[in-house]
């Protein structure tokens, strides 16, 4: 596979994700304007952070008058999974120049990562240069649609009347993001503990209920998995 072919294949393989990126980015633009951000702020967040779930998290918490450090902590926690992606990509892309790797890091998103690693595993004969080209092919369609969707959403957002209950788009968006993550019993237990703990701890000052509930749920999920493994072996 030549580099040009790999680039095209990457773009083609990741093209279906446009269907997810467009509604999410539109929604982010709309919700950002609804929360009182101006056009520059909405765009700055999408371009600088380029991680939808954490952007929604940060925005929802700031709007809820949480302190900046709580919003930051929660949003960064949402992005921690990408450290795993980064580690998983090293065997395939670690050879690239530092600047290229920095650009790859900036462009790292869930769906494209999953497709890239699956392709690298399925085609061990791919040259290192072709792998790099494939990676950028994966991102070439997603990134512009993310920016463009945010811009469009932010531009049309203010024209949407209040009857459309856009406040509710944020929780719905998070539910949509969570559902595919519930892949096993420990995941379901962790999700349930997370929701209940957040409600029970809502009285805590500075929105600290969220990080505490998240920590408790994370440990619960991990311990449930360990418990099930031990039972399975016994």
């Amino acid at each position: 596979m030549t580099e040009a072919q790999a680039f095209r294949k990457g773009a083609l393989d990741c093209a279906p994700f446009i269907l997810i990126v467009v509604p999410f980015s539109l929604l982010f633009g709309v919700v950002a304007r609804d929360a009182g951000l101006d056009l520059l702020q909405a765009m700055a967040m999408s371009v600088l952070v380029i991680a939808g779930a954490s952007q929604f998290t940060a925005l929802a918490l700031l709007e809820d008058h949480a302190p900046v450090f709580v919003a930051l902590l929660a949003a960064l926690a949402v992005n921690l999974r990408m450290a795993m992606y980064s580690a998983a990509l090293v065997p395939y892309l670690g050879h690239a120049r530092l600047g290229v790797r920095a650009l790859m890091a900036y462009l790292m998103v869930d769906q494209a990562f999953a497709v890239a690693v699956r392709t690298y595993e399925a085609h061990p004969a791919m040259t290192p240069a072709a792998r790099v080209a494939y990676y950028f092919g994966c991102m070439v369609l997603i990134c512009p649609f993310w920016y463009g969707g945010t811009l469009t959403g932010a531009l049309v957002g203010q024209a949407i009347p209040a009857e459309f209950s856009l406040d509710f788009a944020v929780p719905v968006c998070f539910i949509a993001l969570t559902a595919p993550l519930i892949r096993s019993l420990p995941h379901a237990v962790a999700a349930l503990v997370s929701a209940l703990a957040a409600l029970a701890l809502a009285w805590l000052p500075w929105s600290l209920g969220l990080p505490v509930a998240a920590l408790v749920a994370m440990i619960t999920g991990a311990q449930t998995e360990r418990l099930l493994q031990r039972r399975g072996r016994a």
Binding site: L19, L48, S54, L62, A217
Partner: protein, 109 residues
Amino acid sequence: MISDAAFWSLTAALAVGTFLIRFSFLGIFGRRTLPPWALLHLKYVGVAVFPALVAPLVLWPEATGGTPDPARLIAALAALVAGLRISVVAAILAGMGTLYLIEAAARLL
């Protein structure tokens, strides 16, 4: 209303922090791997953070002044079921669609 100072300090820190997370192994740690306990816990970050964020927003929505709203509760449930059974986009459509339907029906009655 979100203050400019809060927004820009959060965005700058989030941008840098998120980049460092993405760059961690590709750029800094190289082939060193995460310890097993860290990998085990990282698997549950998503399901630990999102429900904690969403539960109070669904149960005590700001639009109704914090009192539980049956329409929003049913719509949230519809989004969850559609998300579990079908897809991410279906969950968004089901959630907002259900809310609009119930609100439209309530206006008619």
